[in-house]
């Protein structure tokens, strides 16, 4: 926990100073998670603000401060899900061909090592983003929370409020779909 229970209780009583402290403590972590969940840097702050906005208006519903973090993650997951659903950004829209073309163009202009590293990172981001187009928005977020954010099944259980076995099945199916897309992308790139 990045904040103590007392601070959460004060924020629950609409203490704006306490709420400010909570936001300051968690904003970077939440922004990072959202960055990886939605893969669109220009909208990250907007979604993060939506998370904290929801937090402000629903903090009084939190019964025990002990579950604050899973609860905040739940708000984050929901906000990211709403964003992705609105965007309807699917794999077809961000075809790997397009990203390759962009990379080629950027490679032609990029001279320094830093720029080259940045391009590599960009390519990784676009590849993962494209692969995750093979699953639904909800499964994409679940996979990200597990594989990229590194949350355990126990932690996910608290966030999603479903039992571990159901999560395992859902994760397995989502991963299989991504693996299938990954294999197909590998074959596509292989001969060329």
């Amino acid at each position: 926990m990045l904040v103590d229970f007392e601070l959460i209780k004060r924020a629950q009583n609409k203490d704006s100073v306490a709420f400010n402290e909570i936001v300051l403590a968690y904003r970077k972590r939440i922004l990072g998670t959202i960055t990886r969940l939605i893969a669109r840097s220009e909208d990250v702050e907007d979604v993060a603000q939506e998370v904290f906005l929801r937090l402000y208006f629903s903090l009084d519903q939190l019964r025990t401060p002990e579950v604050f973090e899973p609860w905040l993650y739940r708000l984050t997951v929901n906000a990211a899900f709403d964003y992705l659903r609105k965007q309807r950004r699917r794999q077809e829209f961000r075809m790997s061909d397009l990203s390759e073309q962009q990379v080629l163009m950027a490679d032609a202009t990029a001279g320094s090592k830093v720029e080259h590293e940045e391009q590599t990172k960009k390519k990784v981001r676009e590849s993962v983003d494209s692969l995750l187009g093979a699953v639904s928005e909800a499964d994409r977020i679940l996979l990200m929370m597990k594989e990229v954010e590194g949350l355990s099944l126990k932690e996910l259980e608290k966030i999603y409020k479903v039992n571990e076995n159901a999560l395992k099945v859902r994760l397995f199916r989502a991963r299989q779909r991504v693996l299938k897309a990954f294999g197909a992308a590998g074959k596509k790139e292989g001969p060329g």
């Binding site: 904003r27 970077k28 693996l179």
Partner: protein
Amino acid sequence: MSMRGNEDEKLDALFRAYRKACPDPEVSANFMPTLWARIDSRQTFLFSFRRMANAFVTAAVALSVALGVYLSIPRSTPGTPPETYVEVLAAANPLDTPDIVSPAVRVDPNGR
């Protein structure tokens, strides 16, 4: 089987690379002011909505009470007869009225 395992490892590596490629971003200076502006805006909206809902509920209660009072007052308007329908009918056609009580049949003792 080993092929599948190999792809699994590659995917894991890709996810790890993705984690490194997406570090926690720096927060802009406008983050907190914008957040508070949005909170204030939402609060104002909620306050107006709540006030409107309260006004509506108050008006509905007042109307119900007024209607209840109106219906509970006994009607004593001068133009309205106090009797029931049967009483009014009986008053208009008293029992000694031949047409009602013993209509039409009259026996003439002389046979005419």
